[in-house]
């Protein structure tokens, strides 16, 4: 078992394997997103309260969900890298951070675009979801800034892994504290279409979008890890072979 895992985590092996896996993410992911977009934009009925404005949900919810998934992934792989000293695992964490930050950003932007017609304002300090999402963006920024500040890759890996883990411990606390804070005087101001109460014509495209986004996220992540690995191993023989081979093809 250990042997197998170590072989899997060896950079050249990962590089070959991931090349084969990526299409299995890209193709279904694209299909799901296309289905979700068409079904969501044209076939789902308008919301009885929000009219067509609700359709931004098909971007917003997958983005928000992935922003959290990416942080979990980043923290877990950083932890694995730190404890078992697996370099590939650090590469995954490093690759996940910018993606996660983008999804967080996307969730914030789509959310505030949605908020404009819904609440009449772009931003509402009173909402715990918004606030903790913003704090999560700062966590990503902190992680990336720390990485950028350290030249040496192995050192950057370890230092940022410590930060990711400390952040992971804090995320539930942040969420909890923000909720408690705003529940003091606000609360009822936010009108929210609650998930499960959705008609299936709305729900299926949404589920398709979430799954599709996740698959595309997986593909992007693998792609980023691949280039990260290539860069990190740029001195090794197998990378030179890879480069030579691609040179011959091109």
């Amino acid at each position: 078992m250990w042997k197998f895992l170590h072989k899997l985590a060896s950079p050249p092996h990962f590089y070959d394997l991931s090349a084969k896996i990526i299409p299995w993410f890209v193709v279904p992911g694209t299909i799901l997103i296309i289905y979700g977009t068409i079904a969501g934009l044209f076939y789902a009925p308008p919301d009885y309260q929000q009219g067509d404005a609700f359709r931004i949900i098909y971007v917003h919810v997958p983005a928000a969900y992935l922003s959290m998934l990416a942080y979990t992934l980043m923290a877990v792989s950083a932890g694995i890298g730190l404890i078992w000293r697996i370099k590939l695992s650090h590469a995954v964490a490093a690759a996940a951070a910018p993606l996660g930050a983008w999804f967080t950003f996307l969730a914030l932007i789509t959310g505030s675009i949605w908020g404009r017609p819904m609440w009449g304002t772009w931003w509402e300090w009173g909402d715990p979801r918004l606030t903790s999402e913003l704090i999560m963006l700062f966590l990503y920024f902190g992680y990336m800034a720390l990485r950028a500040a350290i030249d040496d890759t192995t050192k950057a890996d370890k230092a940022s892994a410590v930060l990711a883990l400390v952040g992971a411990v804090n995320i539930p606390i942040i969420h909890f504290s923000v909720e408690w804070w705003s529940s003091l005087h606000q609360g009822a101001t936010i009108v929210r279409a609650d998930g499960p109460a959705m008609p299936t014509e709305m729900l299926f495209p949404l589920l398709a979008m979430i799954l599709g986004f996740s698959l595309v996220f997986g593909a992007l992540l693998l792609g980023r890890v691949r280039s990260e690995v290539l860069f990190r191993e740029r001195r090794s023989r197998w990378v030179k072979n890879v480069v030579l081979a691609s040179g011959e093809q091109g």
Binding site: D152, T154, R234, R235
Partner: protein
């Protein structure tokens, strides 16, 4: 007692050395020699456990130093370019901090200072000392510590000729008392004790 097997160290993406082996017993000195930039400082830091080797491991009394780093550290005193004293404290305050950290004999404090010519300077804050005086205070730390293994990176730096002779004397005494030394230096060490040379 101190041995390294199959050591390889990367800095940036250059390999400084590989397949380096050594074994050092009580009363012997390991002299790391080489041109500027060949990796002497890096080797010393890695042996002490401040840097990680890419491959290989260093054993102290038959056990990997990283297995229980604290045990190894209790046998070690370290002297480097940056001597690790506080500029605002006097040298006595600085040295007595050491007694909380590691096994020392506090009654050695005054004789050590005396021997290193530091006695008239006890009232000054450390930052007011000259480059060579600061190095001498670091030597006092080594004298006070009861540790068999001395690691010294360029121990002669900034010392006048009297100071350099003193360093040789101290090392010779330490080796005679069954201690071990690991030294990186450009100057020749000129000792009678057994010297194991590691050319990098």
């Amino acid at each position: 007692m101190l041995s390294g097997k199959d050591l390889c160290l990367l800095r940036g993406d250059r390999c400084l050395f590989q397949n380096l082996n050594f074994a050092l017993n009580s009363g012997e000195l390991l002299l790391v020699e080489g041109k500027n930039g060949c990796g002497k400082t890096s080797l010393l830091r890695a042996i002490a456990g401040l840097l990680e080797f890419e491959t290989g491991q260093v054993d102290w009394n038959g056990q990997s130093i990283m297995a229980d780093h604290q045990v190894f550290c209790s046998d070690l005193v370290w002297l480097s370019h940056r001597v690790g004293f506080k500029g605002d404290l006097t040298l006595v305050e600085n040295l007595s901090f050491e007694t909380g950290l590691r096994a020392t004999s506090a009654d050695l404090l005054e004789p050590s200072l005396d021997r290193l010519g530091l006695t008239p300077l006890t009232g000054l804050p450390f930052r007011a000392l000259s480059a060579g005086q600061q190095r001498r205070v670091a030597l006092a730390r080594m004298l006070m510590a009861k540790a068999p293994l001395w690691m010294m990176d360029e121990p002669f730096t900034n010392l006048d000729s009297g100071g350099q002779a003193l360093v040789r004397e101290l090392i010779a005494e330490h080796l005679a008392g069954n201690g071990l030394c690991v030294v990186a230096s450009h100057q020749d060490i000129q000792l009678d004790a057994p010297v194991i040379r590691v050319p990098l």
